[in-house]
């Protein structure tokens, strides 16, 4: 059971990084607002509705993973980079407890921002739907699930990788390159066959309700859990065994 005081401490460390929090809000809430503003400027009618909402969910799933990467990598490496981890270990507190507090700590920052962005998208898509259909409750729940799972997975994986490497910058660089560059390319390569299902974004889309991917829901969940467990276990192992 994670210690609530340690989680609060993690949240304090993260939310005091004003620039990072502002960037995360800009990447999500502001992107949604800008998306609908551009549609208005281009004279699209209706500006909102179900289809634009789906588009914003696609944007937010990607932005959510970017926010997850930034916050997760920061949470995972902050103590190590600041040189504070050894002082925390010297309290006699379990290294595992110190490590595992970082994952929910990152989620406490990431998930409300993403939920807010989805809520803004749903409100704007509904209010601006005109005579056409707005997003249904199922659309909103499915979209929110996709965005939140994307952010939660990215942040947890990056907590693990940052603890493993001890470097926030390296993890952000590699994870964003994978997420924004390698992953979409791999998803298009038919030669790898079912191997593309191992790409988190495909499994996340399946969990979000996209059913024509040829991937069972249980398999999608298993793939995401495998990513989560592998990265978190690597970070936990490094945290426990490192001589600092």
């Amino acid at each position: 059971m994670p210690d609530i005081r340690l989680i609060r401490a993690e949240v304090l460390k993260l939310r005091r990084r004003g620039g990072m929090v502002a960037l995360c809000v800009a990447l999500t809430v502001a992107v949604v607002v800008i998306f609908f503003a551009i549609r208005a400027i281009l004279g699209r009618d209706p500006i909102g509705g179900a289809a634009p909402f789906d588009d914003t969910i696609g944007l937010l799933a990607m932005a959510g993973s970017v926010v997850g990467v930034i916050v997760g990598a920061t949470a995972g490496a902050a103590d190590i980079e600041a040189g504070v981890f050894r002082d925390l270990v010297a309290t006699g507190r379990s290294r595992l407890a110190l490590f595992f507090a970082r994952v929910p700590g990152a989620w406490v920052l990431v998930l409300p921002i993403l939920a807010l962005a989805v809520a803004v998208a749903a409100i704007l898509a509904t209010v601006l739907s005109g005579a056409g259909p707005g997003p249904t409750a199922d659309d909103i729940v499915g979209g929110a699930t996709q965005v939140l799972v994307s952010g939660a997975l990215a942040s947890a994986v990056c907590v693990g990788l940052a603890a493993l490497t001890g470097s926030r910058g390296t993890v952000i660089g590699v994870a964003l390159a994978f997420q924004l560059g390698v992953s979409p390319l791999l998803a298009q390569v038919e030669a790898i066959g079912d191997g593309r299902y191992a790409i988190p974004s495909v499994a996340i889309a399946r969990i979000g309700g996209v059913e024509d991917l040829g991937l069972a829901l249980a398999a999608a969940i298993a793939i995401l859990l495998a990513w989560l467990v592998a990265a978190v276990a690597a970070g936990a192992w490094r945290s426990v065994t490192a001589e600092i």
């Binding site: 340690l6 401490a9 005091r16 600041a82 050894r86 270990v89 010297a90 309290t91 006699g92």
Partner: protein, 309 residues
Amino acid sequence: MTDLAIHTQGLGKRFGDRAALESIDLEVPRGCAFGFLGPNGAGKTTLIRLLLGLARPSSGTIRLLGQDNRSKALARVGAIIEEPRFHPHLTGRENLEIHAAARHKSAHGRIDGALQRVGLGRRADDKVRTYSLGMRQRLGVARCLLCDPELLILDEPVNGLDPAGILEFRNLIRSLVDEGRTVLLSSHLLDEVEKTCDLAAIVDNGRVVAQGTIADLVAGQAREIDITATPRVRAAGLLAAVPDVSRAAEHNGGIRVTLSPEAPVDREIVTEILGRLLADGIAVERVAPVTSSLEDRFLDMTTRLEDRA
């Protein structure tokens, strides 16, 4: 309750083929300031990392505060390891809140008191990135105090402090000892250890080469007397013949007399030496027993850099 705050037996740490520590037997009594002295690279920080569970020993055992359970013992240990480090984007108070979260619940209630005690009450809500090194050192001590420590382990705590800061720090350490706490002070600053500590151990090349009270450590040296007399050569010859003198040699324009271990107290031997010189018609300008310092003892015992090379 054991009388020892720290007890290590056969403690060793190897990095590959290189031994950073070899068979360290250290006994630090409770309620004292204990100096852990050694030249740079002697293994002081390695020992502290082992004590605090930051690294695993290659051999030997460690008992802190009489407990084999290190995690339980560390709950009552405050430590500064090398330069104290903090999250620079947080305030001093927030950094202590982060640390208190890893301690017992009562630690949170000690934050204000700890900040006041180290003189950071007014700067507690400033970001640590605006602190000087001296302020960060003091914040490090405040962090140590959050657990109401029975034992404080301070690694080179006065590095970077100005003379006033060093004096302040010394007084703080003595006040902590006066409260019944134990302070292990690792340092290469001999003067600091001599002025602050009751006992000390000297480590060199990964081994403890001496430990005991400061007085005992200093007393381990041969007693010497400096004499300025003319004619010098005849005086040196005369002194060398005194039964309690093992050696008399020219030194800095005078004569340095080394006494044998059986020599009587200074008052008696100086009287005897003076009597012999004056009886032989030698003019005596100055007689001064040489005061041994921890520095002399340290330099006797530890390896010089050129020897290591």
